[in-house]
Symmetry: C2
Subunit: 289 residues, 2 copies
């Protein structure tokens, strides 16, 4: 038996199209164009690619894109001053500061300076608190995307056993909150978990977000379980000097046991930018009506 492949690339394309349709309706109703400001400090090549993709997708969805590129030598005060001006800029509904920041800048201080109502990454402590207490806030994009793929695959999640591997603030912990909100029985496992394979074997839903290439093996998976792979790890390819991307899940073997599984690439990855667009629209809607 072979697992159903959860096609995140296709689902994300559909989500982006739905966002574009709603953006058009929002613009027609309010006269306001939702705007996303992305701030990039320094020259990190991967970050430059991400920022370029975000800008392109933002425009494609009918929203305004504002890119702020600052030198790697930018001071924390200069960055905070930019954020303060974006916070008060009525054309900006979402603010995203591309991480990582140069080492001389305190990331936590920068994220805390973003208006929570414009915090489309969902990393602000107020949004974390709203998520933790069942309130209405902006939810981190990657776990939000994972949840959408799970609901599209499984329908109602209530009562299912979910195991989240990894307890980061960006993925693992908000993912657990979202699954709890959908009435899963949620376990958070991590590097200190004893006998991780047997913990994962309980799960109807496995979300792997640890950043260790192909760590989750076939014999960790309950037959028929749904497996969401958040990992994106670059490893050496067979051909000398080449690399390839793999997830945290040993896709080949797991796909012979699981009921459904996300590939890497083409699974969770494309959902993150699509959910960023959705969050920008959500922030604009919250502000205008």
């Amino acid at each position: 038996m072979s697992a159903r492949v959860i096609d995140g690339k296709s689902f994300a394309a559909g989500l982006r199209a739905r966002v574009a349709t709603e953006v058009a309706a929002f613009k027609a109703a309010t006269g306001v164009t939702p705007g996303l400001a992305v701030v990039l400090v320094g020259e990190d090549p991967a970050s430059q690619v991400y920022v370029r993709n975000k800008g392109r997708e933002t425009l494609a969805a009918g929203m305004a894109s504002f890119e702020h590129r600052m030198a790697a030598t930018t001071s924390q005060e200069q960055l905070l001053a930019l954020i303060a001006s974006l916070n008060t800029d009525d054309t900006v509904h979402g603010i995203l500061v591309q991480l990582p920041l140069p080492k001389h800048i305190d990331e936590a201080a920068v994220l805390a300076a973003i208006d929570p109502a414009k915090d489309v990454d969902g990393f602000h402590v107020v949004n974390a608190g709203l998520l933790a207490t069942g309130g209405q806030g902006l939810v981190p994009c990657t776990p939000l995307g994972c949840l959408m793929l799970l609901e599209d695959t499984l329908g109602d999640l209530s009562g299912l056993e979910a195991v989240v591997i990894g307890r980061s603030n960006i993925v693992g912990k908000p993912m657990a909150q979202l699954l709890l909100g959908k009435s899963c029985t949620v376990t958070i496992a991590h590097s200190r978990t004893r006998d991780l394979p047997s913990v994962v074997r309980r799960a109807d839903i496995v979300v792997a977000a640890v950043g260790r290439p192909e760590m989750v093996k076939a014999d960790w998976i309950k037959p028929g379980a749904t497996v969401i792979d958040v990992g994106i790890n670059r490893v050496p390819a067979d051909e000398p000097g080449k690399t390839r991307l793999v997830g945290d899940v040993a896709y080949g073997e797991v796909s012979r046991v699981a009921g459904a599984v996300t590939p890497v690439p083409g699974g969770v990855g494309p959902m993150t930018i699509a959910c960023l667009l959705l969050n920008t629209l959500t922030a604009a809607q919250a502000r205008h009506g």
Copy 2:
């Protein structure tokens, strides 16, 4: 074999004594007396007892106690005005609004109005977010007390399997965050959990916070597990017309299987006020030094 009884009453007395010692040192060092303001709206008899006890214990710890009693007809605006004045009052380091509030008052709006730095109940969204992201905030008193009893009983909790039954914002969810912070493998179970007994049987640590009298039975408990009973339920006693207090755990039978268990009363209950005093001291220390 009979479980060790976790004597919360005795532990809480020790904690109150340690707080009193630290309060004396803080006053000597800063000239500042930590102050706790408790706001009671209406005449609920149970709330009056709680408020009186809190005031007495606050004074006994060497701190200042401010009681604000308002009529049941108090408007939300009047209550918010009081909170605004307490927020700016330098003699007040902790603010506690006794719940429940009269139905015409929006509890969420009132709790949101408290300065997070004075939110000694730990219910503000900012404190929930700090707890959820590993930051330094004020932690809800009851789960904080449960954690102290667990660490006193078990020492290092890292790697232990913990099951929290109940997902309230006041106990279950912050309890799960605290246990995760101590590197337990944490499962949150609740009313929608399938086969709750088998989920609970995995646990080295069980925290029951559901408000259902004696729901957790002996055959749910892994032999030797540590059981923390947050429930306080009033049920009919054998003698007609009398009542007695029981927890969410069937204490008699569970104590023949568990390694350690909190009684009701005398377990978690006394820890809550002791942790309220600790939070007030923590808030004063954060402000002065």
